[in-house]
Amino acid sequence: MYKFLLCWRYLRTRWIALASIISVTLGVATMIVVNAVMAGFTQEMQDRIRGILSDVSFEARSFNGFRDPEYHMREIEKIVGDEIEVMTPTVTVPAMLSFQLHGEWNTRPVQLIGVPRDAMEYASKFRQYLQHPKHREQFRFELQETGYDLRDRFGGEEAPLRVRMEMAGMVHRRSMIEYRRQWEKQMAAQPAPQGDMPAKAGAQPADAVADPFAAAQVANPFDVADRPIDPFAARNDNAQADPAAPLTGCVLGIGLASYRHAGAEHFLVLPGDDIQLTFPTAGTPPKAVSDSFTVVDMYESKMTEYDSSFIFVPLDKLQELRGMFDRESGTTFVTSIQIKLKDESRGSIVRDKLQAAFPPHFYSVSTWRDKQGPLLAAVEMETAILNMLLFLIIAVAGFGILAIFFMIVVEKTKDIGILKSLGAHGSGIMGIFLSYGLSLGLVGAGAGMVLGLLFVRHINEIRIWLGKLTGQMVFDPSIYYFYEIPTSVNPWTVAWIVAGALAIAVAASVMPALRAARLHPVEALRYE
């Protein structure tokens, strides 16, 4: 009984001990915040990395791909049929993207991915990253009239307005063609040296900041029309009948269509504009072929690596252009089969089974984790090291407690002597100081937990407030591609942190408590 009474009295009268516990409080709070942010960040990263990667991908080692995806899918079905939810054949090939900007051609290397036209089954998250709400429901490589998102979907209200997206779609396309017609008329009336000259800024109408030449190909479609294998021959007729009719659709990574300058986004290409893609054929030696496509939507997963290199086109179109089909047997070629599993966590088991069943020099099988393994491992490593360092901070706080407890024991030497003279046993004396340490730890860790959780909860408000206070952006979305600091509190992590801090507080009080228990009563009584 006296243990608790004295422990309580010491708690109430020794403020210095509470000061020592502040370091524990701060340590616990910091650890909770850091873990929450790191976990949030990791989660966000994983989501983004997954982006378009399917659970398991079954790929040909050659760009020429493999023949007859249906046969392969049947074979895969035989081996791991129970695990599979859906399979999608795709073609992936490096390509060059060209688009006209202010009359000049702009060329960039890209990764071209042919996906089935409905694209319903292609990786679970593909549609979710598109910019048109209808496309997120159901995607068909069709240009929408208008209604593309005006803001970054992940940014919410805070994201800056993408003014130019307001006219994206058929509206933009028509106005471009109309503008171009006017321009040509003007050129015809007033002969200029060349019709294809870059536009002067002054020549552009004030409302159309957009590049008037983005749709130039439409007026000059002859090279496309001459291609022998052109399943869309009718399209050219349409094009002549209605120059605004879209070409084959494609989805452009948003990083390819825009750039950031001084924190603002600038769009080079909008849905409704045409682009030209050049890529190798499947023959030997590969020859470059090119075709024009209309951008029907943009893909924004916030994973820069994907956003600035991927272009999605219809699979059959790509197969035709690359000659990835056999006229006689009617079979096609694909470079990979994307497999979505019923249970994502069984990815590596499925991978191992498939690896064993198919000749490894032709096929490579990998899970999405394999593909982004180093990145994920780096983040995990970072979290582990941070945790270790922060725990060391709490351990340092433990030494503070140790020192202050020693001080308190020395200060209380006489009281210890008195208690012993009254018949208190050493273990009882030890109990006073151990429970003192435990209660200080509880107070410290508890306060730290509350503080940390509150901080995590209001982290974005704190960020904004700090930004206002210092006049500097604390967390610049244009750098991190996050509009809000992502957080995720794992109750187990919090429990472990609090338990660790408690253990340290108790451990630090063990030595002083032992010393107190071993004090000789007579000497303790004499102590002045």
């Binding site: 006296y2 009474l5 002597g417 009254l422 018949g423």
Partner: protein, 297 residues
């Protein structure tokens, strides 16, 4: 006053008790007297023993009139080590304390009287010799047994009172009981125990200081609180280490009278260490300690 005491070494006897008490506590005297009698009842029958001194008022010294030996020391030796030097403090002390007597141990500073008291109180172990309490050897008992003994059967008061500064007077008095009882057992009996502590504090004249911290009390009040604390467990013997050593003459005398009355009213055995011969002379028996040995003079 002192003169009267010294002239009458057999002070505890009947006639002197009444004036003593009335000096120590004025109007509440009669009431306190009753309280002492009812609350501070030791293991032995108080009334039977109290009757005895008054029945034989002329009896010289404390001697046998008080009862059997309750505490006995045989050939106690104790030395302190300072570096390589051994400083002998007690060189073979033999002592007998009888039930119900008020015994004073006097001696110069460094004569080892405090050390002797610490040994008797089981706060320290002798190098040689034996200590017997109620027919049991206690100097070589286990730590736990000695702790129990100190807690339940010995009461101690000190020159510097040694109250716990964080606790109120009442809590200080209750401290030994808190040590005796576990958390739940204390909780269950709390009301009863608190009542006992309160009436004991009333007995020593501190009824109005229950909630005061030691630093808010005067020296005399602190010593009274310490006495109450020593008596709360109803010990068989009270060991006092210079109880008046830090108090002025008048206050010291007040404490002395309180001890005297406790001794007479409740037949409490008291062993008191002092260097003040005026205080010592009020005891039933005086033992002088010279150079770590009981002087025969």
């Amino acid at each position: 006053m002192n003169k009267h005491r010294t002239a009458n070494p057999a002070g505890p006897h009947g006639p002197t008790v009444a004036p003593l008490r009335s000096q120590a506590r004025d109007s509440a005297g009669a009431h306190d007297h009753a309280a002492v009698a009812t609350t501070v009842t030791t293991a032995t029958s108080a009334t039977a023993h109290r009757a005895r001194p008054s029945a034989s008022p002329d009896h010289e010294s404390a001697a046998d009139s008080t009862g059997g030996v309750i505490l006995k020391a045989v050939g106690l030796k104790k030395a302190y080590h300072k570096g390589k030097h051994e400083v002998p403090v007690l060189r073979g002390v033999d002592l007998e304390v009888r039930q119900g007597e008020l015994m004073a141990v006097i001696g110069q500073s460094g004569s080892g009287k405090s050390t002797l008291l610490h040994l008797l109180a089981t706060l320290d172990r002798p190098d040689e010799g034996e200590i017997w309490f109620n027919g049991q050897r206690i100097d070589n008992a286990s730590t736990r047994q000695r702790d129990r003994l100190r807690n339940r059967q010995l009461g101690m008061i000190f020159q510097f009172y040694h109250l716990l500064p964080e606790l109120t007077a009442l809590e200080n008095v209750l401290a030994p009981l808190m040590i005796t009882h576990g958390y739940f057992s204390y909780r269950l009996q709390r009301r009863k125990l608190v009542e006992r502590a309160k009436s004991l504090l009333e007995t020593v004249g501190l009824a109005h200081r229950l909630k005061h911290r030691p630093r808010e009390l005067s020296g005399g009040e602190m010593q009274r609180a310490a006495i109450a604390r020593a008596l709360i467990t109803e010990p068989q013997i009270l060991l006092a280490d210079e109880p008046t050593g830090n108090l002025d003459g008048r206050t010291g005398q007040g404490i002395m009278e309180l001890l005297r009355s406790l001794n007479t009213q409740s037949n409490l055995t008291i062993v008191m260490v002092t260097h003040d011969s005026a205080i010592a002379s009020q005891a039933d028996r005086v033992v002088q300690l010279v150079d770590g040995q009981v002087s025969d003079s």
